[in-house]
Symmetry: C2
Subunit: 317 residues, 2 copies
């Protein structure tokens, strides 16, 4: 146990056997992507699917990190284990993501029932929406019954990531025209719960009124109308109510079959993505094949037509 | 001969055997695309590669069609057979492309050494840049030693199509800021020859001065600096000079090896395109496979991981 191996399969086996000390390295393998990440995905897949995922998103400065920390405390009070994946838009040059981990870990550093990991959005070049679900799967397979995914609600992929959770919490703050921003960023569509954080600030009543007005204009086909919860996260106010509302939404999804529908939609999206990636890779391989140059010569000389050449490259004839 | 068959292979065989009456139907098969077009491409490929292609492009209203007609007359005077493919931006609703054929055919209708075909850009939905080279290949294989491709120099794909010819002629007119437009549309980069048509109009001197100034700022790595030819196409003025300049450019390309380089680049681009199309089709087939639903069920139930499912869909395991 707790060996220093970096072999993906050995790390996955260790984590599946309950070795949480191997989890940070396993997450790093998956975050880096490529063939080792797929190997890990294949290995842990059958053991995943039990975790309940909660996305927490909203504009920068809404207090999402503080709220997440308080939610962890609430969950731990009831002895629930929890893993947190924070998608941090910090530049890799400032070490923002790593610093974030340290700050977050202060309260929960000695608690083996809590796992916190930040990943930076920079350097992922659009691959973020691929890496996050795979990391969540690893945390799920590691046995955490609840996985929180915190993203900044700026940018389509960040909103999509949080919106792909079982329950999505959208955090807003009074003032600053947040309700309008939420609408623009697509946050309104993904919300299962609205939090008005910093609810001791002026503008709380107006923000809630705006949200209720926007909800009037929206249909809720699956019978769940997002509740609005006021919190003051720095004081811990309203956090238990948030926890209760997440549970209420989960109970709703489980009783109506909505949870199965959401998860089936995610499974479908992932399978389609994997198929498309596979064939794109196949094209890159074919065009990087050692026979490519020789076949191209044949095509240039009109000895082989391009369709036959493509067949030979792709079918390894 | 001249049977009314629409079977792609039979049509291709007829055309390769010299039956020009089958050529319009064969072009229609290739224009429609899909598997029959590929079948034709495979069949005619070995017989193609001898035609010299000339692209003629420029802003709308520059007089490209008239110039093309006069060029046909000049070529016929020297007994050269010529095929013309006009990419016409007319709406399919007005029947513009067909009407264009009739107008163009007036002068050359009884001449078996001339073949003219217009295709509409509408309805191709981006597939134009695929269809045009395939149609040119058919005209080439049908034995036409010269193929003219006329496109409106508006829109990236139209400019690219004309720019993919052995010699590309860019037609401008005085006034209307054509030199600036030419620069914006990317026409400047593809030009091997510049035509100032309607050179009896005011602004001719200024346009030529602008073009020469822009050429000063450009490097011509393959040793050919585009000449500028003044024409008045409606009167036939300058058309012989255009014809001479096309020949001069061809002689340059043939003596320097530039023609082989251009054609090799086109062959490479086409092979890459065919490979990418093939694999994209493979992805569509896989996701439309009858086993897709069953495998998706297995993935949803966590019985099969998505990578294994993708393998099974793509490898027909």
């Amino acid at each position: 146990m707790a060996s220093r191996t970096r072999d993906p399969v050995a790390l996955a086996e260790a984590v599946l056997a309950g070795d949480r000390a191997a989890l940070p390295r396993l997450v790093s393998v998956v975050e880096a992507g490529g063939a080792p990440a797929i190997e890990v995905g294949r290995r842990v897949f059958a053991r995943s699917g039990d975790a309940y995922t909660v996305g927490i998103t909203g504009p920068p400065g809404a207090g999402k990190s503080t709220l997440t920390d308080r939610l962890i405390t609430a969950l731990r009070r009831r002895d629930e284990e929890v893993a947190v994946l924070a998608v941090d838009p910090s530049s890799p040059f400032t070490g923002g993501a790593l610093l974030g981990d340290r700050v977050r870990m202060v309260d929960h550093a000695l608690d083996r029932g809590v796992f916190v990991r930040s990943i930076a959005t920079r350097g992922h070049l659009g691959g973020l929406s691929l890496a996050v679900p795979e990391i969540v799967r690893v945390l799920d397979a590691a046995g955490f019954p609840i996985v929180l995914v915190e993203t900044v609600g700026v940018g389509q992929s960040e909103v999509e990531i949080a919106g792909a959770a079982d329950t999505t919490v959208v955090v807003l703050t009074p003032g600053a025209g947040d309700s309008v921003q939420a609408n623009k960023a697509g946050l309104f569509e993904v919300a299962d719960l609205f939090i008005i954080n910093k609810a001791d600030h002026a503008g709380t009543v107006e923000l809630e009124r705006d949200l209720r007005f926007m909800m009037e204009l929206t249909s809720w086909p699956d019978g769940w109308r997002p509740p609005i919860v006021r919190t003051v996260a720095v004081q811990g106010d309203g956090v238990d109510e948030l926890d209760d509302m997440i549970r209420a939404h989960r109970a709703h999804l489980e009783s109506t079959g909505g949870l199965l529908v959401r998860r089936a939609r995610r499974a479908r999206a992932e399978l389609e993505r994997v198929v498309r990636e596979r064939v794109a890779q196949e094209a890159r391989n074919a065009l990087g094949d050692v026979r490519y140059r020789a076949l191209l010569d044949d095509v240039e000389a009109h000895r082989v037509d391009p369709w036959t050449a493509a067949d030979r490259l792709l079918r390894a004839e």
